[in-house]
């Protein structure tokens, strides 16, 4: 399931829901929560605005969940991503994966958040306490992390 929303989310309730849906089948549940932090090195983030491409966002993340299901033994997969105006330390993103064994959940969860960062059409605009505004640039490190999940050609 993929949810793109302005509203905050309750990660404990989301985990409880997944636990219920996979009761008896999943032996492992791994979740990741991302928060607003100071993106600039020497300045405090005041507000963060998240713009997105409605429709394509959901489609891209659904496609990543489908890839995760093909590559690992995944029983349930949930991604929630917030948009609109957020403040320092707010929750932005939640990814949870349930599987029979922990290895599949750990790997699928990390793959989903890494791939989401370079594939899902969201853009962050940061406003500093000083009032300066700028669009956050994609980090080379994020692109490299997604690249690490590429399936070698002989295994594809």
């Amino acid at each position: 399931m993929v949810l793109v929303q302005e509203a905050d989310f309750d990660s404990a309730a989301l985990i409880a829901g997944m636990r219920q849906r996979t009761a008896g089948k999943a032996g492992a549940l791994v979740s990741f929560t991302g928060y607003v932090r100071d993106y600039a090195e020497n300045a405090q983030t005041h507000t963060l605005f998240l713009e997105h491409y409605p429709g394509m966002c959901e489609r891209e993340i659904e496609a990543l969940c489908a890839t995760a299901r093909e590559r690992w033994d995944v029983q349930d997969c949930l991604v929630v991503h917030r948009v609109g105006e957020l403040h320092n330390a707010d929750q932005i993103v939640f990814v949870a994966v349930a599987s029979a064994h922990r290895g599949d959940s750990f790997r699928a969860c990390e793959f989903l958040i890494d791939a989401l960062k370079t594939r899902a059409p969201f853009w962050k605009r940061e406003t500093l306490a000083s009032g300066d505004r700028f669009w956050v640039q994609q980090r080379d490190e994020d692109a490299e992390k997604t690249g690490q999940w590429a399936v070698p050609r002989d295994q594809a």
């Binding site: 997105h52 059409p121 969201f122 853009w123 994020d142």
Partner: protein
Amino acid sequence: MATTPSIKVLYFAQVAELAGLREEVQTLASPISGAEWLSGLEIRHPQLAPAARLKLAINQQHAPHHTLIQPGDEVAVFEPVTGG
């Protein structure tokens, strides 16, 4: 009455701010590669230069610049994404 073949263009984030618009309908009579279309975009909006750095999605799918844009397509143009 035949309608003029066109594409719907969507601008996002910094690209939308620089171009000064978020959406427009553009006449497109015959297919054109993403790279050629970006060159045209740079002529219409010089503030987006160099436009070759921008990313494209065609009909809500990421599209490398050699992809052909067809009349009727929805074309989105944006900088590398920064969600998560």
